[in-house]
């Protein structure tokens, strides 16, 4: 009897998967494989001295960043001389800042990289997140700090990982959390101050960078290989680029974003 139920259920699920797409059926298996990797016990995967650097370009005039009305939070407002803006677009000399550039594929299959001992840090300061865009590794500690003498709640709203929502009602609080799966990107938000947004790229390897305010980035320590790089931007989506790096080589990869139609 129990066996019959099992089969019926399995078949129902399989039909549903089929309806969606063929790839959908494979997802659970892939998910199971990634969770099967024992976190923390991994020795560091292959690395080398290959370097990829380049520029994330932005063609045209950058859209104006919205101003933030902080009048409801005088403690934060006092930290600014001019009206603070929500820095969605950081564009200097045609380069796009705050773009997350990372190796999307090309690393040897099954390579695992131990998380660094130093934590990633996100600070709440002047009712803004610092940094606004950052990368971290699976299993790496994320230190969440509050420099403001006001209430913040920090809410992670991932899709692959489990989220959290923590109250930090006082300056000087530090909370530590980790993510156990790779996910580009994990959004962070504060519900007390609806304008506060940050994004973290969580990867199972250390090959990522965030573009500087003029769009420059460098990814070091790559083993020889052909890689697909992706550049992500919070408003403009993603661009990819393929690059082959030999031992000791420095290659260039550029990305070109343009204003949304």
């Amino acid at each position: 009897m129990k066996r019959a139920f099992l089969c019926i259920f399995a078949l129902t699920v399989s039909c549903k998967s089929e309806k969606k797409s063929d790839a959908g059926a494979a997802t659970p298996a892939a998910g199971a494989a990634s969770t099967a990797t024992p976190a923390g016990t991994a020795s560091s995967g292959p690395s080398g001295d290959g370097v990829v650097s380049g520029t994330v370009h932005f063609a045209g005039t950058a859209p104006k960043n919205p101003t933030v009305d902080m009048s409801e939070e005088p403690t934060c407002k006092a930290k600014y001389t001019a009206n603070p803006v929500d820095s969605q677009y950081v564009v200097n000399n045609g380069g796009l800042g705050n773009s997350f550039v990372y190796v999307k594929s090309g690393l040897p299959a099954g390579a695992t990289y131990a998380p660094p001992a130093t934590p990633a840090v996100i600070d709440q300061k002047g009712c803004e997140y610092h940094p606004r865009v950052f990368g971290m590794q699976v299993g790496q500690k994320l230190e969440i700090k509050n420099d403001d003498a006001v209430l913040h709640n920090i809410k992670a709203v991932p899709h692959v990982n489990r989220g959290f929502n923590i109250s930090q009602p006082s300056a000087g609080m530090t909370t530590t959390r980790t993510f156990d799966k790779a996910e580009v990107m994990v959004p962070f938000q504060c519900n007390v101050h609806g304008w506060m947004q940050a994004h973290a790229g969580v990867l199972s390897h250390p090959f990522y960078a965030v573009s500087s305010p003029d769009g420059k980035f460098t990814i070091k320590g790559l083993p020889p290989g052909t890689y697909t790089l992706e550049a992500w931007h919070e408003k403009l989506g993603t661009q990819t680029s393929t690059v082959t790096v030999g031992a000791g080589e420095t290659k260039t990869a550029d990305f070109n974003f343009s204003p949304k139609a």
Binding site: K2, F5, L6, C7, I8, F9, A10, L11, T12, V13, S14, C15, K16, S17, E18, A25, P28, A29, G31, A32, T35, E72, V150, L151, N153, I154, K155, A156, V157, H159, R162, G163, F164, N165, I166, S167, Q168, P169, S170, M173, T174, T175, N191, V192, H193, G194
Partner: protein, 521 residues
């Protein structure tokens, strides 16, 4: 139906690893229950996108993410089976989610919970880890005062407002994990608290947060010694103290006789008048229908002085509409809720409250149709708006229809908005000079009354809003002078007669005793 055996086997293998076989067969049984009772709102795949979903606020929960509000586990963790069963059994008060304990058997509820868990891969990660709940730290005055201080320190007012009415400065900007607008809980109506309204339940919500909503967990605040666990218990006690017990709904509102009527809704004299809770629900009959009203009930009080009737209506509304801070809220409501019955107003309208009476109360006992009457039996409306702040008196022949009448049937009013609450006083003569234009209030008689409330910042107007069914206002009868005189006269007469009898008896006794004493000699 084409069946792919290899894929089926693969899925079976994965699912078997994730769920023990008992819950797997339970899930299969639960699916039928789910499809029959749950899918209409929560969707066929559990993504919270059933046909009914787009009219609802809050939206039905999306089960595919495995993110749940009511848990006894830490923020971000999966709930326990008991957590899920509690919600299915008791429902989510204040939302469209009903309590299923009367409809579904315990076994059916267990099965449906097993099925709901199968909709998210989150439950494959292992058994949930409930938090350690410490001992209740009391609910006395000292605990409440301490809790109030911690409530301030934790800045709960940022969302919930200084008086807990859900009107904090961040309230208009709140959104859930799916980007939908969401309200800060009104802490003065704890009977609507999801997950229970007693102090331990409130404490659990503070410890775990309500995942998927802006409500965070305060566990870290304890771990980092910002507050103590005892203080968090006291916050729960304080929040509990902000509400009365769930009000009992009584159909007849008693208008007490007073020598003088209160002058404003904030007049202390109103404290003498009993409060009656009039529940209101979304107007979902006449188009455009409205499933997401802001207001869920109005406190009504009534007094009369033999010449005039005074009503005091008190209700919570986080905005005095139109309010600039809520402009974005209205836009978000517009994009979130289905507007199949016509577009929402682009601009915020005023807040509204209409008191509805039968046009000819007293002449006939048959009440008009509760939604603004109809052609045969019109309704009389006292229609208050916040902007302009005025009361119009007129006749309705159906919801949204209104013909203002001139004449001497005037209603005076005083409206006061204070920290998330409207307080409105309405006064009218018991008997208008022209008795064909409105109800005549007669002491000793009950007159049917119904309410309509709307929040302009929520896109509500003369039809979209919240309505009550018929209630009644009964005017106390003045006590005639003879009621006081008669007992006094009775007392005097009784006392007088009594004295007479006693005196006589004593005299007779004295006369009788004298000879007896002398007898033996």
């Amino acid at each position: 139906m084409r069946r792919s055996v290899p894929v089926g086997a693969l899925v079976l293998a994965v699912v078997q690893t994730a769920f023990p076989s008992t819950s797997l067969s339970q899930a299969a049984t639960g699916q039928a229950t789910y499809e029959k009772w749950c899918a209409g709102c929560h969707g066929d795949t559990g993504a919270g996108d059933g046909p009914g979903a787009t009219a609802m606020l809050p939206r039905p929960r999306d089960f595919t993410r495995g993110v749940y509000k009511i848990r006894t586990t830490a923020s971000g963790e999966i709930p326990t089976d008991d957590d899920l069963r509690l919600v299915v059994a008791e429902g989510m008060p204040g939302t469209a989610m009903p309590a299923w304990k009367a409809k579904l058997s315990d076994q059916e509820r267990r099965d449906v919970v097993a099925y709901i868990k199968s909709l998210s891969s989150a439950f494959a990660s292992g058994p949930p880890k409930p938090i350690q709940i410490s001992k209740d730290q009391g609910t006395g005055d000292q605990a409440i005062a301490d809790g109030r201080a911690a409530f301030t320190k934790l800045q709960c007012a940022k969302c919930h407002g200084a008086n807990g009415r859900g009107d904090g400065t961040s309230a208009p900007t709140l959104k859930d994990d799916w980007g939908h607008p969401i309200r800060a809980a009104d802490l003065t109506e704890r009977w609507k608290f999801r997950g229970g309204s007693d102090v331990p339940s409130i404490y659990a919500r503070l410890r775990t947060g309500l995942d998927g909503t802006p409500m965070p967990s305060f566990t870290d605040a304890i771990e980092q010694k910002l507050i103590t666990d005892e203080q968090l218990w006291h916050v729960a006690a304080y929040v509990h103290s902000l509400s009365p017990d769930a009000p009992k709904v009584r159909e007849v509102v008693r208008a007490r006789l007073a020598t003088a009527l209160p002058r404003s809704p904030d007049d202390g004299a109103w404290e003498q008048a009993e409060r009656y809770w009039i529940p209101v629900v979304g107007q979902v009959i006449a188009k455009p229908r409205w499933f997401a009203p802001t207001v869920d009930g109005v406190w009504m009080q009534a007094m009369h002085d033999g010449r005039r009737l005074a009503l005091r209506l008190t209700w919570n509304d986080p905005s005095s509409s139109p309010a600039p801070a809520w402009t974005e809220w209205l836009r978000r409501i517009d994009t979130t809720l289905t507007t199949a019955d016509g577009p929402l107003p682009v601009q915020q309208g005023p807040d509204r409250l209409s008191v509805q009476w039968p046009l000819h109360a007293g002449d006939e006992m048959e009440r008009p149709y509760f939604l603004g009457g109809d052609a045969r039996r019109p309704a009389r409306l006292w229609r208050w708006t916040s902007a302009p702040d005025r009361v119009e008196v007129g006749t309705a022949r159906g919801l949204g229809t209104f013909a203002a009448t001139s004449g001497d049937d005037t209603v005076t009013h005083v409206a006061h908005y204070d920290a998330g609450q409207w307080r409105l006083q309405l006064v009218r003569a018991l008997r208008p000079r022209d008795t064909t234009t409105g109800p005549v209030f007669v002491p000793g008689r009950a007159v049917p009354v119904a309410l309509f409330v709307a929040d302009g910042s929520n896109g509500e107007d003369a039809v979209r809003g919240a309505v009550s069914t018929w209630y009644a206002v009964h005017l106390d009868v003045p006590t005639p002078p003879r009621v006081y005189a008669a007992p006094a006269i009775t007392v005097l007469l009784t006392a007088g007669l009594g004295m007479l009898l006693i005196t006589r008896a004593q005299r007779r006794e004295t006369e009788a005793v004298q000879p007896e004493r002398e007898a033996p000699r």
